[in-house]
Symmetry: C2
Subunit: 264 residues, 2 copies
């Protein structure tokens, strides 16, 4: 099972949109996919149209009470299962802070399902706190969605330091697989400058850095209102607007991800 | 002095872009304006082109050590002063958590400068933690930037509850002045639906709610690449692209804000 976390502490850059639609694209291509909503905002859960019953277990129960992954994952389509989140998760960081194995809880839960899925995709919220650390400790690969804007680049350094620290102290096999430009506006000089900056930065990474070998994905996710509309219907872009640029781009990104050799 | 906080825990919705360009527009219209960067990401500080010297005091020193406001504010243009932020602010919430008067520190600092400025605008980060609570306790008015997307609406309820709680327990004169739609894409059905939802929601607010009387600003801030470019030059939209839609829209928004009666 290949496990990937979608991470960026900057808000509103396309993490959830990427996590949900890449997961759906991989499932359509015949892969068994587990999508984990690790954000108290629960946007991935909303996006796939999951409405929780009051007693339904969520990622909170898995992390804090150790509820088995098989009891928490719900099927939302062919070959696509989701571990939902809820607002309960807001208190998880505080509750876990004082407990043992607080950074390895997700990792231990995932160890139980390596046979069941081909891919595990984790949607992280806009934070570098304990929940996101759990993701960094649990997965092998990180994908960083980035809006091609100046202010978006400012946080990248801190994100990469956090990844480097997680690799050094908790998860030696962690690496950044790539950066994907989201909400891309073709033909703007700003987007081109950011692309060039990121490409150059990745190309010049020293061999000991976790982003050595990371690529700037060739697939650019174009700004497309259909991608903003489909969460309101609880559907992925492939169900909502299969002919759209949004569907085209996320299908291409999923293929590009699948083509990455899983060990360099 | 009218004091306004720009607040939304959802990331990347246009808080900083709104705080900086409304502050600049008001200053151009002859008002003395203080802009406070209350976000450890320090995007407002970057946006106005402030480069800090290593020993320069920031909002961190004001909040945690009680450094006088007059020693922290820097002039960045005619009638526009800025209290900068820095990454030091990341630890402020933790450091303040155990100390006395932790929610009223910004309020006490602002009390010292009511004569010096006509407007104080506070740019908050994407969080509802102790820093944002300091803003809610210190200001009279809240402006909520909102991206006209489905997922953006999901967090609004929690934001409004937080405002209601702050008013009830710490700041009885707090109210929501309005919601401004940012990154608006004209002609999309989604934007129209969100506009209608928000307008109806505000219109039906019960009299005891802090958003009773709040308006959906008539000014829509259109998506305009110039607004994303100018932070990279450390300039406001009025210096960078005075003829752009971005400049037009933020000038109109500032006039609309100025026209709001300061007591309903
Ligand atoms: N390519 C796109 N074109 C148009 N809208 C998009 C695109 N990608 C995402 N959006 C919309 O932009 C908003 C932000 O995207 P999204 O929620 O995926 O970001 P995020 O990084 O997960 O945010 P958060 O930090 O809050 O978790 C959402 O309303 C989403 O529907
Ligand atoms: N109307 C607009 N048109 C185009 N780009 C915009 C517009 N408003 C903001 N942006 C850009 O979108 C990004 C997000 O905006 P901004 O940083 O103001 O949001 P924010 O709510 O302050 O984010 P954060 O939650 O991280 O503080 C920035 O790169 C900004 O330059
Ligand atoms: Mg998200
Ligand atoms: Mg901001």
């Amino acid at each position: 099972m290949r496990s990937l976390a979608i991470i960026n502490q900057k808000g509103g850059v396309g993490k959830t949109t990427t996590a949900v639609n890449v997961a759906a694209a991989l499932a359509r291509d015949g892969q068994n996919v587990l999508l984990i909503d690790l954000d108290p905002q629960s946007h991935a859960t909303l996006h796939v149209g999951l409405e929780l019953t009051p007693e339904q277990p969520t990622i909170y129960d898995l992390l804090v009470d150790g509820t088995a992954l098989g009891d928490v994952a719900c099927s939302v389509g062919e070959r696509l299962a989701v571990i939902p989140s809820s607002v309960d998760l807001v208190s998880a960081e505080l509750e876990l802070a004082g407990r043992d194995a607080r950074e390895t809880r997700l990792r231990r839960a995932l160890a139980a399902c390596r046979e069941a899925y081909d891919y595990c995709i984790v949607d992280c919220g806009p934070s570098l706190g304990l929940l996101t650390v759990n993701a960094l400790v649990a997965v092998q690969e990180v994908i960083i969605p980035l809006q091609p804007h100046f202010l978006a680049l400012q946080g990248l350094g801190r994100l990469l330091e956090t990844i480097a620290r997680a690799r050094q102290s908790l998860n030696p096999e962690l690496r950044v697989t790539g950066v994907v430009l989201c909400m891309h506006e073709h033909g703007t000089r700003l987007a081109q400058e950011v692309r060039d900056d990121v490409a150059q930065f990745l190309a010049s990474a020293a061999p000991d850095r976790p982003w050595h070998g990371a690529r700037l994905f060739a697939t650019l996710i174009r700004r497309n209102i259909k991608l903003a509309e489909c969460p309101s219907f609880g559907r992925t872009i492939f169900d909502y607007a299969p002919g759209s640029h949004g569907a085209e781009d996320y299908a291409a990104l999923a293929r590009e991800i699948a083509a990455v050799a899983s060990s360099p």
